[in-house]
């Protein structure tokens, strides 16, 4: 049948049915005639079905099938596979098998009362070649990923070095220090990239982030503007504090490592200190963090609070890992959407509330992660292009 197109097949089936039932129109009759004349087989099939309305007896035969009984039988088999115990065991088995195959990926689904299931999958190399733009002072937009190792000439004669994973402003020597000229780095989704500023500060930027910075720091403070998420490794210079302005908050540091998360579509600005000292302030409050502490600024209520956290959870992304612990699926997807450039939909509200934990390597595709979620057998996961639909398994 595949020698014809799908459409032709559908028309043919419909036309034959209409002819048999005696309600065909001219067009359909012609189609059936043509088909009959194409081969002896076709003609014989037609005769078999039409002679004495044999088709009607066949249809009655279909009607006599014990559908209800058949369904009950099938449903028993469908149900049996979805008990919790059967869910966990194959997962554990899978983990054991994969453990022997150089594993780089672990997902923990924390069953509320039933312990943990461990799943592993082989590792793929993350791809990091899409979507970084550098905007120069004169408005020129340089798509970073399309260039190889290059040097870019700025207005003041500064030279910018870049290769495929980082860009370096610290190697240039500018003679006249008169006025700061600003560049901007824009990360599109699915991309992380390192920039080294002129003072040697390294900023590892996560997807969908934006950093505006001077090609060379001149004033008494090193000031940059930032939105998104980045891991800052600020070069020590006690005389000139490094200041990050983001959504109403200033983060001032002397020399330190910390993670800053300040996406404009999220309600919190989160600063997590790894080492050194930072100070977070808005126009009213100010707080200093010690390593392992985190400052959370609620952008709506303008409240600033601090807490002690597991730093790994907040910095995993810059080791090309995605780490979650008891995190709502919706929050997980929010993160993944940024990285993989996908959209997600919850067909059941409760699906968004399921909590998962796990550590993923970053893949070039979201599919292995979706597979992990599927294997918990708790959710149906359907991907159509870059749209992903979740529903609870009933």
């Amino acid at each position: 049948m595949n020698m014809y197109t799908e459409d032709y097949n559908k028309q043919l089936i419909s036309a034959i049915a209409a002819c048999l039932a005696g309600v065909a129109e001219e067009e359909e009759r012609m189609l059936v005639e043509q088909w009959k004349n194409r081969s002896g087989r076709n003609r014989r099939l037609w005769q078999r079905l039409s002679a004495g309305n044999a088709w009607k007896r066949e249809v009655d035969e279909l009607d006599r099938t014990a559908v209800e009984e058949g369904w009950q039988r099938l449903e028993r088999r469908m149900t049996r596979r979805y008990t919790l115990w059967e869910r966990v065991r194959p997962l554990a088995g899978y983990a054991a098998v994969m453990a022997g195959l150089a594993v780089g990926f672990v997902l923990l689904r924390e069953f509320k009362n039933a312990g943990e299931a461990l799943v592993a999958v082989e590792q793929k190399q993350p791809e990091a070649t899409t979507g970084v733009q550098l905007i120069l002072a004169d408005g020129r937009v340089i798509p970073i990923n399309e260039l190889g190792d290059v040097q870019i000439q700025e207005e003041d004669g500064a030279t910018i070095y870049k290769d495929s994973t980082y860009i370096d402003y610290s190697r240039n020597i500018v003679q006249e220090d008169t006025v700061e000229i600003f560049n901007e780095m824009r990360m599109l989704n699915g991309m992380a990239y390192t920039i080294t500023l002129s003072d040697g500060t390294r900023v590892y930027m996560n997807a969908e982030s934006r950093l505006r910075f001077p090609v060379k720091f001149l004033g008494s403070r090193r000031v940059v503007e930032f939105e998104g998420e980045a891991y800052f490794s600020v070069a020590k210079n006690e005389e000139r504090p490094f200041v990050i302005k983001t959504g109403g908050v200033e983060v001032a540091v002397l020399g330190t490592e910390f993670n800053l998360r300040a996406y404009s579509n999220e309600t919190e600005i989160v600063t997590t200190l790894v080492s050194g000292k930072v100070q977070v302030s808005d126009d009213q409050y100010c707080c200093a963090l010690d390593p392992g502490e985190q400052a959370v600024y609620a952008t709506q209520t303008k409240e600033l609070s601090t807490r002690v956290v597991d730093v790994n959870l907040y910095t995993a992304w810059c080791r090309a890992e995605i780490l979650f612990k008891d995190t709502r699926l919706e929050d997980i997807m929010k993160n993944l959407a940024r990285w993989y450039g996908i959209e997600y939909f919850f067909l059941d509200e409760t699906a968004a509330e399921l909590e998962f934990g796990g550590c993923f390597e970053r893949f070039d595709s979201i599919d292995p992660i979706l597979d992990m979620i599927r294997r918990t057998e708790l959710l149906n996961v359907v991907r159509e292009g870059n749209k992903i639909y979740f529903s609870i398994k009933k």
């Binding site: 559908k10 419909s14 129109e25 099939l45 009607d63 058949g70 099938l74 596979r81 149906n380």
Partner: protein, 178 residues
């Protein structure tokens, strides 16, 4: 075209694990697949087993299928493969299995076509109201109008009208199917 997307919608619902949709699909395809398997096996219980296995397999792998065409392709091919394997396993059927395999490809297409036609007719007739269904059945069996009118205890003029409507309706349903 609208009903085309309606039919695919059922597949999409099944893909998301909707049991009700799968039940509806089962109602249509279980009888057809049983009958299809019977063409190979000539044994009703084994035919039902095959149809059950194949539909269960579809349910378990439902996430892979997003269109009716794909599902149909899978179901018919899977029934055929299982049947041939069963025939091969059974010593008695060995000669028959060889015969089936030799003549199979065209024969398979023919059977698929036939079963799709039958399914369509079954569903179309199934959507008619009871009275119209009877009228169509009577006239298919070659009864004259006067005879039908007498049996159904209605005036011949009424039957005339009803018959016309019944055929119109059947025509619409058949046309609407694809």
């Amino acid at each position: 075209m609208e009903s085309e997307s309606k039919r695919n919608k059922i597949i999409l619902k099944i893909q998301l694990g909707n049991r009700k949709a799968f039940r509806e699909f089962f109602n249509g395809y279980y009888p057809v697949l049983c009958s299809f398997a019977l063409k190979y096996l000539h044994d009703r219980p084994s035919g039902e087993d095959v149809a059950q296995d194949v539909l269960l397999k579809y349910w378990e792998n439902r996430e892979q299928y997003s269109s009716l065409e794909e599902v149909k392709g899978f179901l018919y091919a899977a029934v055929r493969n299982r049947c041939i394997n069963i025939l091969k396993r059974e010593q008695v059927g060995e000669r028959y299995a060889r015969f089936v395999q030799q003549n199979e490809p065209e024969w398979f297409e023919e059977e698929v076509l036939e079963h799709e036609v039958l399914l369509l007719l079954q569903q179309a007739i199934g959507t008619l109201p009871k009275q119209m269904k009877r009228i169509i059945e009577y006239s298919l069996s070659g009864k004259r109008n006067a005879e039908i009118a007498r049996e159904m205890n209605i005036a011949e003029g009424t039957l005339h009208k009803l018959k016309k409507i019944a055929y119109q309706k059947l025509r619409e349903v058949l046309k609407d199917r694809f």
